[in-house]
């Protein structure tokens, strides 16, 4: 129990679709729609899913940029949704965020030193701000002479390092990373992924790592959660997921990723999903995935499958999970 850093219970975040001058709400975008998950101390939980499935909304809700419609967010056992302004301010020290776009997440008019110092100044944690900033810069691999430079003088990878330095400045307990490498070029992605791993080891950080790129996830995550239309479809340990993912959607995701290996690519059995992601304003009834699921049956259209335990730390929300026969394992899982 004490191992649980963050626990989310049945979280819902609906955005009203407002129309007209009196802002009559005609419908809701159900960005996060009854989502539960747990993050343990010191581990990395990766959340994967396609664009628009609610990943960023989840992140923003946890960090308090939005008030959720309902649900609970327990941080170290306390429901942060009941926090007052003061408590919220204190909580922010413990939860920090690294953003997706290294170009828009840094104020273009502030010097690197000031960007990293902002949280330190907001909480007045240390007298010698500059010293601490230089320390952090060293930690993320930025040269001290960059202190007075402006963000535009840096490459994307370097900028992302600045963002990371800012996020770890207050020694938070949890860092939420919303697609921190998806905007980076492949050759540079690797640098940042490595940095994340190193920092975790060094500072004993806990990550909630959001990504749509399963190959990145595979390199960084301890656990993987697959999200679809505001819900968790499957959640398991990294190893288990890549070996035995059993939700049809997880499998589709896994098989959709092109491998930089022509032979495997050509022999691989893929599951190409039909159709597009339905609109989160009108999610399908029953299992939200049924419209694109190759195995959908009538029961899927009528009832919503619960997130059920399937193995040690392995949960699936599906009536007809894919069974992996030992022999097939290798093939279904790409390598």
């Amino acid at each position: 129990m004490s191992n649980r850093l963050l626990e989310i219970r049945d979280l819902k975040m609906y955005f009203p679709i407002e129309e007209g001058m009196f802002k009559k709400t005609t419908n809701y975008v159900k960005a996060v729609n009854g989502l539960s998950l747990t993050v343990n101390k010191g581990e990395t939980l990766a959340i994967v899913g396609e664009s628009g499935c609610g990943k960023s909304t989840l992140a923003r809700t946890i960090i308090g940029l939005q008030k959720p419609t309902s649900g609970e967010i327990l941080f170290e056992g306390k429901n942060i949704l009941e926090f007052n302004h003061q408590e919220m301010h204190q909580l922010r020290r413990d939860i920090q965020m690294v953003f997706q776009d290294p170009f828009t997440s840094l104020n273009p008019r502030m010097k690197v030193g000031d960007i990293i110092a902002a949280p330190l100044k907001a909480y007045k944690t240390t007298k010698n701000v500059k010293h601490r900033v230089l320390e952090l810069m060293e930690l993320v691999g930025l040269k001290p002479e960059y202190y007075n430079r402006l963000p535009h003088e840096f490459s994307g990878g370097q900028r992302q390092r600045i963002g990371i330095a800012r996020a770890i400045a207050l020694e938070p307990k949890l860092i939420i990373c919303d697609e921190p490498v998806s905007a980076l070029d492949v050759s540079i992605q690797a640098q940042v992924i490595n940095l994340f791993k190193d920092l975790q080891k060094e500072l004993n950080l806990t990550y909630l790592f959001i990504s749509h790129d399963l190959s990145v996830v595979k390199h960084i995550a301890d656990k993987v959660a697959v999200m679809y239309l505001g819900k968790i479809m499957e959640m398991s340990e990294n190893e288990t997921f890549f070996q035995e993912a059993c939700h049809p959607y997880s499998n589709a995701l896994l098989s959709a990723i092109p491998l930089p290996d022509p032979e495997k690519e050509k022999t691989r059995e893929r599951i190409v999903l039909k159709g597009d992601l339905p609109s989160p304003a009108n999610p399908p009834a029953g299992c939200v995935f049924h419209t694109r699921c190759p195995f959908a049956q009538d029961s899927c259209r009528e009832n919503t499958p619960p997130l059920e335990k399937r193995g040690e730390e392995h949960f699936v929300s599906c009536y007809f999970p894919v069974e992996h026969k030992p022999a097939e394992k290798a093939r279904s899982v790409v390598n």
């Binding site: 960090i63 940029l65 965020m97 776009d101 828009t104 273009p108 949280p119 996020a167 400045a169």
Partner: protein
């Protein structure tokens, strides 16, 4: 932005006019108000470079001194309306609750053509410099607050603002240290244009007879007085007219140049997915 000759020239003109008016009392030989009934309506000469008016006053010195009033009104209106507009725009862009009501009021004010609003206000308050400044400020600040508000609305959702929030930076600091500097460029551009418009508006009000006290030399007053003499003493009208056009043109050119300089899209619009931008080649303004 000063790579363009046009912008440089405009800045030069403005500096010249400003310096000339500020230092006028040091070097002006002729008094701008001295009435000499024997020297009426004389054409340009060595003594009176721009000729004399219907009172025999020296037009050159009047044009120079008038610049002071016109520029003063322009600057003050530009500064006050940008400050007022900015504060209102910032607050209503940032605080959703205030936004609705404030914007309805601004909408209401924007429902009047600026010149008409100023005209009605000046007619109501009486035509002196303070009232003209008040009236023009009222006419122009709503535009600024609109511009600022929409800039804030755009910027508010940019990640570095959210990033600042999540690192615990307080609202006022975000508003004034993060958002304000980033909306400064449209504000400065607006300010420059308002400066130009205010000078024109002052002239128009004076022309309509509700402007600055007619005894004060302003470009508008001079043009109004000169109107009758346009055929018999064209210089009376031409010099103040050209002075207005040059000054306002310089301001407009400058504003235009600033807009281009500030606008990240202006030269080559390129989207970048990437990290690969080295050498500071890409800037985000």
């Amino acid at each position: 932005m000063f790579k363009k000759k046009r912008n440089l020239l405009a800045l030069g003109v403005l500096l010249l006019v400003t310096v000339a008016t500020i230092t006028a009392s040091l070097w002006l030989v002729q008094s701008p108000t001295y009435i000499d009934s024997h020297q009426r309506l004389l054409g340009p000469s060595a003594k009176h470079w721009f000729g004399t008016d219907h009172f025999g006053r020296d037009i050159f010195s009047r044009v120079i001194v008038a610049a002071r009033v016109s520029l003063f009104i322009g600057v003050v209106v530009a500064v006050i309306s940008t400050i007022v507009g900015t504060v209102i725009g910032l607050l209503s862009g940032y605080y959703k609750k205030a936004d609705f009501i404030v914007m309805r009021i601004i909408d209401g004010m924007l429902a009047f053509p600026a010149l008409l609003l100023a005209l009605a206000l000046v007619a109501a308050l009486g035509g002196n410099i303070t009232n003209i400044i008040i009236a023009l400020t009222f006419a122009f600040f709503p535009v600024v607050s609109r511009v600022v508000r929409s800039a804030v609305l755009q910027i508010r959702n940019i990640q570095y603002i959210e990033a600042a929030k999540t690192t615990g930076v307080s609202d006022p600091v975000i508003l004034f240290q993060y958002i304000l500097p980033n909306v400064l460029s449209p504000i400065i551009v607006q300010g420059t244009f308002i400066f130009a418009k205010a000078i024109l508006a002052e002239a128009a009000l004076s022309f309509l007879g509700v402007g600055v006290n007619p005894t004060t030399p302003t470009w508008g007053n001079m043009l109004q007085e000169a109107q009758v003499y346009i055929t018999i003493a064209p210089w009376f009208s031409i010099f103040p007219g050209v002075a207005i056009v040059l000054t306002v043109l310089a301001l407009n050119v400058l504003g235009d140049g600033l807009r281009d300089a500030f606008d990240p899209h202006a030269p080559a619009k390129r989207k970048k997915r990437t990290s690969m931008v080295s050498n500071g080649e890409q800037k985000i303004a």
